[in-house]
Symmetry: D4
Amino acid sequence: VSNNHPLVGVLMGSDSDLEVMREACRTLERFEVAFEVRIISAHRWPDECHRYARTARERGLRVIIAGAGGAAHLAGCLAASTTIPVIGVPIANGPLHGVDALHSTVQMPPGVPVATVGVNAARNAALLAVQILAVADEGLREALSDYKQALAENVQERDQRLRTVGWKDYSRPS
Amino acid sequence: VSNNHPLVGVLMGSDSDLEVMREACRTLERFEVAFEVRIISAHRWPDECHRYARTARERGLRVIIAGAGGAAHLAGCLAASTTIPVIGVPIANGPLHGVDALHSTVQMPPGVPVATVGVNAARNAALLAVQILAVADEGLREALSDYKQALAENVQERDQRLRTVGWKDYSRPS
Amino acid sequence: VSNNHPLVGVLMGSDSDLEVMREACRTLERFEVAFEVRIISAHRWPDECHRYARTARERGLRVIIAGAGGAAHLAGCLAASTTIPVIGVPIANGPLHGVDALHSTVQMPPGVPVATVGVNAARNAALLAVQILAVADEGLREALSDYKQALAENVQERDQRLRTVGWKDYSRPS
Amino acid sequence: VSNNHPLVGVLMGSDSDLEVMREACRTLERFEVAFEVRIISAHRWPDECHRYARTARERGLRVIIAGAGGAAHLAGCLAASTTIPVIGVPIANGPLHGVDALHSTVQMPPGVPVATVGVNAARNAALLAVQILAVADEGLREALSDYKQALAENVQERDQRLRTVGWKDYSRPS
Amino acid sequence: VSNNHPLVGVLMGSDSDLEVMREACRTLERFEVAFEVRIISAHRWPDECHRYARTARERGLRVIIAGAGGAAHLAGCLAASTTIPVIGVPIANGPLHGVDALHSTVQMPPGVPVATVGVNAARNAALLAVQILAVADEGLREALSDYKQALAENVQERDQRLRTVGWKDYSRPS
Amino acid sequence: VSNNHPLVGVLMGSDSDLEVMREACRTLERFEVAFEVRIISAHRWPDECHRYARTARERGLRVIIAGAGGAAHLAGCLAASTTIPVIGVPIANGPLHGVDALHSTVQMPPGVPVATVGVNAARNAALLAVQILAVADEGLREALSDYKQALAENVQERDQRLRTVGWKDYSRPS
Amino acid sequence: VSNNHPLVGVLMGSDSDLEVMREACRTLERFEVAFEVRIISAHRWPDECHRYARTARERGLRVIIAGAGGAAHLAGCLAASTTIPVIGVPIANGPLHGVDALHSTVQMPPGVPVATVGVNAARNAALLAVQILAVADEGLREALSDYKQALAENVQERDQRLRTVGWKDYSRPS
Amino acid sequence: VSNNHPLVGVLMGSDSDLEVMREACRTLERFEVAFEVRIISAHRWPDECHRYARTARERGLRVIIAGAGGAAHLAGCLAASTTIPVIGVPIANGPLHGVDALHSTVQMPPGVPVATVGVNAARNAALLAVQILAVADEGLREALSDYKQALAENVQERDQRLRTVGWKDYSRPS
């Protein structure tokens, strides 16, 4: 995996969001999807935000993931200037616990959707990006099936272990 | 446009949701995307919900749009059993005004994303579906560009009219 | 008490919920009600979720307790496929503090109830299960009366101690 | 069906709640479960509230359904003085849209559960009562299975009709 | 100050509330108002709750202060059975941060008021009790004037100190 | 009853609040408590707000009831400048449904309580005022007992009528 | 007053917002402040949004008022590209009642403030604009003093009328 | 910079708010705007609050910044008695996480605006004050442009560093 020819752009409004957004990067890496990571603030660096969105398709990007907190405009600002799918990750970064970011990300006006995932749910944003890419990529479809299978098996193993050791002695695997 | 070979499934938990979800149908029709419409309740007809999700990909569906209110599980239930992208439309159908449906749709656990749009935002769900299909469809990409252009022109026309007639006399076009 | 012939199923969506759900287990144990404990995710292991619900009654289960957080669908998913009472425990596991899980658990559509208890209230879920079993079990009725009496006496003792030592010196018993 | 030997008590804090609670009555009637209906306010007629709860079991009641709005204490007040299951229906009757009633009903302290259903969800309260009675009543178990089947068939019929007439022409059956 | 002939009853639903309610005791002590402190749960010791309220006036109590969390019924339960003023203190004791207790305390039905103060605001509850007693007590009226004056002076002193040392060096007095 | 020698001041921030506050007037009238009614805005007529509060005690007022919506400061503004009890009525007058007014009224800082009643609960504000006056008025104590008795009897009558005519035919008395 | 040489720009995201925003226009007109009115969507016409903000100062604008609903980005988008004060009006236009617009408008990141007024409070936005212009305009300062005086007198007149006709007979002036 | 001839008053309701409000001071200092800092409680020192507001303009103040928590009346109280712009900073200081302060600050009645910034957003309050002063100060306009440029460059530098070191190794500059 390299940053050459990225298919997915992982953007965040501030480097304080990286702690959350790293999970998106790890997940894309797991699926061997090329991506690039950028810090671009809709409010503090608006020109780059628009430039990035306007040139996204021609640069070969197929999906954008954007994480931001508070009055989280990054995903919506990008969606305003591109027609590739934009996935929004509301980030909980202050006293309102991400409810502000959720509202600011999901309640977009008619005509300009943002595909919103849960608060801080960067992993799911990456999975959604992979699902979108898989529309045109048989290999990713198989990888997603494997991933889904692995999810189930992980629960099964924990369930089995719980049934074996009992609820009193069970401790979570690290 | 016909219901033959649908690429998008438009599902709703109850026929009372159709008033909202019709806007998704109209939008898909505008883009000449083949789709099917179904009433499938995650709670009252769970077998069909799972069957639908499990067979979605092999039946040729590429995106599912699911609208539901209250403890809105339809989108999540579908996403649990398929790897094609599932778009959730939280529907405001009771005293909690859709906040319940928003929470139930967007706050999915790690591993199983739902691409959530705004409360009652069925049109945006359809646009997001088109954006996803456009990853592998040049024609849809152009149609989306045209749509985006039309959105802007629609605002421009209203802006122009407001500037011409003034804020006192302006009335919204029907 | 053993896991043989369980009357109550205690389910959770993730082993991270066990810390909360252990209190349900302890309470059922106190009432000498046989139960089994399972980790079954509605979203990551949906087949087992449905299988569990569909076979619950024939396996002799009379009540299911299901704890989950976020877009908490576990209880509703189970209730969709069984007619035995399902008790839902919304679990606070993220930035929205369980409000999301409460909405997702309690706001079920007409026809498919979930008996919801308070956020993280696993003990009350178990007590409710015992109350339900007591409809057909005289011994449990008496045990519940004793429990209720003990609750009152516990408050009385603390009240008495407070009145004796005074509000300045009172410290909570461990 | 008569009010003789009722198994379920349907209580409400005010006759203004009857519009919502009638759905519980209709549902119990459908299942041929004997019930009684009372207006008993926890705050305006507290003596009767306690008397009712304390004598409920000896009078042969097996479940209580209690609907109330605002600082909805009726269900909790009843649960404080009986060990039979109490089902709470939060009623939306003022500017806070039932969020106040939901909090007041569901957030009970450890030791005193209330089985809470959705805001205004009186039908589900009745169904839950039937599910509880069915723990000791084979006939009700069968009736519940039939009801669940009918729920699914009702959705199926609407789904079939939608597929036949199409989303443009579908209108909801009265 | 002694517990003889108390004019104010300070009640709480659990000894876990004492940490908050001590501030009410300290404030009443400061005004030399006789009070008694009790742990009486509306849900776990309902008989005492009603007995306390019914006999409050004849025992010479003039005001009751009641603190509780969650589905906080204590104040309302007391108000149901007495006509002396009941002051409610919503206590934040769980994931919903006291919003549940606030709703459960303040949203009382017509006819049965609870004088609600802020979340965890036990000091203000005591001051309100003193204000009520002062309706018939000239000494307390003067003490309240002095207290109000002291409040202002305390702010003035801090303001003066801030202006003297500057905002960079100011530290709060312990 | 006349406005001479009023014991209670009923204030509101705007004449649009009168529709809600009339219920306070009616209730005070029922108890034959002398009161005066004023429109005094904390924000638009602040001088009168302070003058009113500062002279309230010397003018013989014993309780103030203040109703306001939005950023409802009226009750708090009055409480800042008097030591007689101030009862706040949060009024729902806009899109936030009174949640804003509730927060603005109840969450007062330490030292300056406002006795808050439910949203729009003007009747309860008046009853609380009567309860406060009854601390020094035997006649009002008896009137309050009668009122409480009448509340119970009103519920009893409705309950009796419901039991007589049945839940299907019951209609609310006008 | 004309649209020549406007000092204030009144912007809205959609012509559906004009009903609310007209009040801002009326208020600016009353103060004889020149303004222009525009419909410019941050999401549907982003280029104009940025162009407008970037050229605002050189075009002689001194304040911008921006009203928008839902994920209301208009004010923040403008503030990102200008240093003149931007006043945001959250507009309640859907099921979330403006809470979404309030969060999206007020919770701006450090470095890019939006001066937010209440939900739908277009008149206050205009007054705030006038207050800002008055920093450099003696005439507006006097006009604001007159306006404030008129506000007080309006309340006084209503108060006087209420005291004259009594609370039973008072009706609001049209 | 000195406290002589201050143009901005930075007020807070309690010295516990200073931790938040210091950021406003630092920002004003950066712009070399003269300001004064005061602790003035609307509820505990109302006379000074009014005196401050009434004399603000004649003393040469051009903007007031007011930070307060809970039922945050300070900004509104000041705005009631002056016509210079008042900027409100809602402060999160208790269990409701600043939602109470936000509502109390922003939801002002028609005629009396408060320019509200985000919860705890003291820096933005100061920037807004500078923007307002810049209406009549060319030097500040240039300083704001420089500040905006610096904001963008700061993001650019972090973005550049992230792109250089990669998302795995990036750590935030202290």
